[in-house]
Every structure is written in C-alpha cells, then in structure tokens.
C-alpha cells in the first residue's frame, strides 16, 4: 500500500505533479550522466598528452555548455508552467465543498451546505467521493499550517486571516494519508489526517450518517459515561451533538467511533489507545492541548463504553 507517496498518484492533480516529477528526474538524469561522462573522459585522457587549448576553442566550448544548460532550464520551466495550467483547468463543475481549518495540532473538517442542519463536522478524517472534484477551503486557527495529501495533490499553506483553496479529485478509491507540511510547533510531526476516497453512494451514506446526532446511551455504563463527559472535563473543549458537550476548541467527537485514528492520525482508534489517550494524552503526544483528565477507573470505562456508541 502506498498510502502516502507522490509517485503513486490516485487523482488527476497528483498525476500531473507526478508526471512533472518524472520529467524533472529524467532531465536531471541525462544532465548528470553527461556531466559525469565528460569528467570521466577528461580524467582518463589526462592532461600531459594534449597541447594546451587555444582561447577560441575554450570560448566555443563554454558557449555550447551554457546554451545546453539554458535549454534544459527553460524546458523545465516550460513543463512546470504547463503543469500549473493543467491543474488550474481541472473542472470544478458540480464540486463538493469542504472547509478545513488547521489548529495546533489537528484538522477541523466542515462539509459546507447552505442548510445549516445539513452541514457535517468531522475532524482529522476527510471522506470524498471518487471521480468528483472537491474544492477545499483552507483556514488556520492559530499559526501557519500546510495541507499535503501526496497521493491526491500538491501542498498549500493554511494562513491565519487568509483563505486558500485547493482542488483535488480522487480517481481511485482508497485510503490516503495527509499531513501538515509547514512546521507549526512541538507536535507538527503528529499532525496528520486520513483521506478516505469511496464510491459516490458509499460517500453519501457516510455523509447522511454523520448528519445524525449522537444516539442516546442504552446500557447503564453508557448512561454513566455520557454523564461523566457532560459533567467532567471533556465538555470544556469537545462537542458531541446530542449531548450537553458543545465546546468548539477541540475535535468534534459526535462520530468518534467511526474514525480509524485518534490524536490527528497519531495512534489507531482502539479501546486501549483511547483509554491511554484519555488518561494521559501527554505521554502519547507531549505538548498537545489536551490535559490529563484524571478520571477514575470506573469513570474511564464508562466513558469508553459511551464513546464506542458514537458511530
């Protein structure tokens, strides 16, 4: 699986980038072989057996070398501009609009919709339909970040107070990894996200499932878990639609159980990792914004039981 590789494009934009990469690679390879060959030839020939070159021929040789270099550079510039133009010309007709906001150190994802009740909020995981253009509106909540999903598109910065857009289109279903590509603080390396490209009907199912609020807890343990979330520390930062927790400074947890990772793709979303994260997030990701919660054993198990229902 090449889940994070420029050389295995899964979308039209990335294919253009990848093509440009190979053009540059082969151009540079030819230049390198030519230069190394000329140097080897000069070393083998030695300096004693030939008469000193006259000034005219030296001038001619330098002129030819400079000319070849100039042609190669202009050729690469030309290819680069053509790639940029081709990327700009990818049709965004009937596109899906997603708003991604970078925070230290996680991604807030909003599926835009003119009807507020149809908007969907997710975090650190983007689902997109295959074959449909996606326009990503990029914002930053604190410092400069950069979104890079190598299999799908080149990178672009998220800058506080500014609005950038990125257009991408996945042409093959799959799971691709993206990450922050602009140093943004202590946990920059653990600021990643998962992009799930899936067939259109599967995507629509995911979207409508994520529009629903969290289901009411059933078992006594789940009821207790919801109570701890609402009355304890979780509700100070997190939102779970359908509960009293409605803060917006940390990732939305309404559908946390449907995600494959926690901590911005730092560790897999399993009961064990989740328990470790809730008790001592600073051990897994030192410096991140979540404080140790200090829940008791009973409270922790109840919270885990409740979070597992948030599919």
């Amino acid at each position: 699986m090449h889940i994070q590789s420029v050389l295995h494009p899964a979308g039209i934009e990335a294919a253009l980038v990848s093509r440009l990469w190979w053009v540059m690679f082969w151009t540079c390879a030819v230049v390198w072989v030519a230069v190394a060959g000329a140097m080897l030839f000069a070393i083998r020939r030695g300096r004693t057996r030939v008469a000193p070159a006259n000034e005219r021929s030296v001038f001619r040789n330098v002129l030819v070398a400079a000319g070849i270099s100039l042609v190669a550079l202009v050729w690469l510039l030309f290819e680069s501009v053509l790639t940029g133009r081709a990327q700009e010309n990818v049709s965004t007709k009937d596109s899906l609009h997603i708003q991604v906001t970078g925070y230290q150190w996680w991604w807030d994802v909003q599926y835009e919709n003119p009807v507020p009740s149809l908007q969907v909020t997710a975090a650190n995981e983007i689902h997109i339909p295959v074959g449909r253009a996606v326009v990503v509106d990029l914002f930053a909540g604190d410092v400069i970040h950069s979104l890079w999903i190598p299999n799908l598109q080149g990178k672009i910065d998220l800058i506080p107070g500014r609005h950038n857009t990125l257009t991408l289109r996945a042409d093959a279903p799959g799971i691709y990894r993206g990450q922050c590509a602009e140093y943004c603080g202590a946990q920059h390396a653990h600021m990643a996200l998962v992009v799930v490209a899936e067939p259109a009907e599967q995507f629509e199912r995911w979207l409508s499932a994520n529009r629903a609020p969290a289901p009411a807890p059933v078992t006594p343990s789940q009821v207790r878990g919801k109570e701890v979330v609402e009355r304890g520390p979780c509700a100070m930062c997190h939102n779970i639609t359908g509960s009293l927790a409605s803060a917006r400074t940390a990732p939305d947890l309404t559908h946390i159980a449907s995600r494959s990772t926690i901590g911005a793709a730092t560790v897999p979303n399993t009961r064990g990792y989740l328990a470790g994260w809730i008790l001592d997030p600073q051990h897994i990701k030192p410096g991140n914004r979540m404080p140790p919660t200090g829940l008791s054993d009973e409270e922790l198990q109840a919270v885990l039981d409740y979070l597992e229902t948030l599919k």
């Binding site: 304890g232 520390p233 100070m236 400074t249 001592d280 030192p286 410096g287 404080p291 140790p292």
Partner: protein, 176 residues
Amino acid sequence: MRHAVVILVVAALAGACERETRRYQELPAAANRETGVRLTTLQPGAPQQSETVQSPYQNNAWGMSEGKRLFAAYNCTGCHGVNGGGAIGPALKDDKWIYGSQPDQIYSTISQGRPDGMPSFGGHLPAQQIWMLVAYVQSMSGITPKDAAPSRNDDQMNAIPESRTGFLPPIQTGHR
C-alpha cells in the same frame, strides 16, 4: 578567572531553566494543596496571615502563557473582557480584588465559583489548568515576575502585554 566565568554562565543557565520548563505531565506537589483559603480578614483571636500557597506556574513562562490561552479558550473573556479589562464580570487587570489576590484564593474563586455570576469550574478543569489560570490572572496586575509573564498575543493585541504591566498593589474590596 576563566573558571569563574564558566561557573557564572552555568549558574545563569541553571537559573533560566525554571522559566522555560514545560511540565506537560506532572503537577508539582505544592499545587495539590487547597488549604488556608480565607475570604475575609475577620478572624477569631489575634489576626494571623494565612499560609501562602504559590501557583507552581508563578515563575514559569510556559504555564503562564498556557493560562493566557485557556483564558480565551474557556471563554473567561466572555465576562471578564479581552485581556481581562472587564465587561459584565469584574476587571482583572486592575488592583481591586473582591475575593482576594492570593493564589489559593484565586484558585478557589475559579474552582468553587462566586455569587452573582462566577461559575464553578471545579470538576470540569484539571487542577493543573486552574493553576495556570491563577498564574495568568495574577500576571494581569503585575503580581508575578515580569520575566515569566506573557509578552505577546497570538493575534493582534490592543493593550500593553502582561510582562510590561506595572505592579499594582492588591486592594481587597470585598464588593464590586
């Protein structure tokens, strides 16, 4: 002579460590004490000073700037105003203290809440974060050391930073 210079440099570096320490995990023992909180100056018998408990982040630049971040993140600004200038809640950057300026008194104010509007954050906030807020609230009136107080905002700032706030001697008012 050369040895003296080396020793001086090492001593200066060691002294600078406390300011820059980032205590992501452990909470210093002093922070777990919640004793001696006095809301009034009236006492039985001869008045005695209550035992002072300092915030563990009193001299720690990281803890205090985290307090500043939390002050906005937990919407303290909603009542106390941006930069603590006051709104429907009392101003925090002046010299007047209704419930006391001592760290343990501020801790109790945040943790227990106060009449007429101050919510109780106890049970919602970990003790560590309350102590960060305590240090930051103190820095707003220049009570904490200047070299550790925040000197900048993450965004545009329309007031002088806490590190340049002059020391305002606390006045206990007991009322708004």
